[in-house]
């Protein structure tokens, strides 16, 4: 038994040092309850749908979402829009297709199988339109930042006037959660910026939470399945371990020495 304790201590140490290395230089993030945290965590459907609305109306003019397709909006464990709703959403975007029989590219309404339409043709165009800073693709953004959802949630609410002594260039803003505190994105959220169709009051905090939830889903679309399957797998393993333990005791009881 002591061996096991030692092994688990070792694991805790490794994980701990790993967290430490990731935790270098960050301000205390704002905290909120995430419904998807913990071994039984699930997404809040309404929050995902609202988050999609915030993404589309606010973020998507600069930030691409290149690994997501419109069909994903329907899949279980996501925002779970109805197929008709998702088709309407897809059709509201113009998608470049082709070449047609004449060898020309043409625009057509989006379909479920299409990827999310990109706001810019390419990275260079995105940089040119945003003062040299490339607005990062948002699909896996929460996994690409050390602080994860807490970081994104805080960043969206972290705009402040710069403290005395810090001067900011044109097009640079002060954000207390940003690495180095200087960010090229201006404050995007303000109370009542979007009008939620479910009547939720669109405060900055609410929108930040909703859009972050949506981004968590885009980064981990199978999170709910993973949690469910993990629970089953671990329960199963524990049952089998117990059975094997007693079988082992039986078998070893055949020889005289206890091992």
């Amino acid at each position: 038994m002591k061996n096991l304790i030692r092994i688990s201590l070792l694991i805790v140490f490794i994980v701990g040092s790993q967290l430490n290395s990731n935790a270098a230089e960050k301000a205390e993030y704002l905290k909120t309850d995430w419904s998807f945290k913990g071994p039984f965590g699930k997404f809040d459907r309404a929050a995902l749908q609202r988050g999609y609305q915030v993404y589309t109306e606010v973020c998507s003019s600069c930030h691409s979402m290149k690994y997501l397709s419109y069909r994903n909006l329907v899949q279980s464990g996501g925002p779970e829009f109805s197929e008709a709703q998702a088709k309407a959403i897809a059709a509201s975007f113009e998608v470049k297709d082709g070449p047609n029989a004449d060898g020309e590219m043409f625009m057509r309404p989006g379909r479920l199988s299409d990827k999310f339409v990109m706001p810019y043709e390419n990275e260079k165009a995105a940089q040119a339109a945003n003062g040299g800073a490339y607005p990062p693709d948002m699909t896996v953004l929460v996994k690409a930042r050390g602080g994860g959802v807490d970081y994104i949630y805080s960043l969206l609410q972290g705009y402040e006037d710069p403290p005395a002594g810090i001067t900011l260039d044109d097009g640079v803003y002060y954000n207390k959660y940003m690495y180095g505190n200087k960010i090229k994105m201006s404050n995007q959220l303000s109370d009542g910026l979007v009008e939620y169709s479910d009547g939720t009051n669109a405060t900055v905090e609410q929108m930040a939470k909703d859009v972050t939830t949506f981004l968590m889903w885009t980064a981990e679309p199978h999170l709910e399945t993973r949690h469910r399957m993990g629970f089953k797998a671990i329960v199963y393993l524990i049952i089998l371990t117990v059975l094997v333990y007693f079988s082992m005791k039986k078998i070893w009881s055949r020889i005289e020495t206890e091992v």
């Binding site: 397709s69 069909r71 479920l112 199988s113 199963y236 393993l237 089998l240 094997v244 079988s247 039986k250």
Partner: protein, 169 residues
């Protein structure tokens, strides 16, 4: 050792084996299922084809799900010929009416049902298609008439969106 004890031990071992086997099966399944069509492949269900430029007696070939689909605008003689064939002469009896919703247009998966080659247009003994791989002859309705292929060429799910557009899938 008493009989009762033996039984309990047997039960323990059997249970362990059984539970272990279930787990093994559950682990193997994802490794197998990953080779099935993935979500992005399944999503590419349909394709729309503009047929306004196809003249009678011509065939166009379009790609659908990675396979060729023949769209033939049949002439009146061809339609008459396709309808005149007696079912008892067919290896795989199917009426032409069941194969072409609109007799003028035959929409058919251009894949030989023998081993998957693409048959050639307007070749063979029946004025339809001929598969060069192993010599299967199809008639103008895409029905197998001679050669090793077991069934008629397959008709995919399709519909006329309007007079000039066919949606396959």
């Amino acid at each position: 050792m008493s009989e009762k004890k033996t039984k309990r031990r047997d039960f323990l071992f059997t249970a362990t084996y059984a539970v272990g086997a279930v787990g093994l099966g559950a682990t193997v399944w994802p490794m197998i299922d990953q080779m099935n069509p993935d979500a992005s492949v399944k999503a590419l269900a349909s394709t729309e084809v503009d047929i306004s430029s196809v003249n009678p007696g011509n065939t166009i070939t379009v790609l659908w799900r990675g396979k060729p689909v023949f769209i033939r605008r049949r002439t009146l003689e061809e339609i008459a010929e396709a309808k005149s064939v007696k079912l008892e002469n067919l290896k795989h009896p199917e009426k032409d009416e069941d194969r072409a919703k609109n007799p003028e247009w035959l929409v058919m998966l251009g894949v030989c049902t023998h081993l998957g080659c693409v048959p050639l247009d307007q070749k063979g003994d029946y004025n339809g298609w001929f598969c060069p791989c192993h010599g299967s002859h199809y008639d103008i309705s895409g029905r197998i008439r001679k050669g090793p292929a077991p069934t008629n060429m397959e008709i995919p799910k399709y519909e006329f969106v309007d007079a000039n557009t066919i949606k396959i899938g």
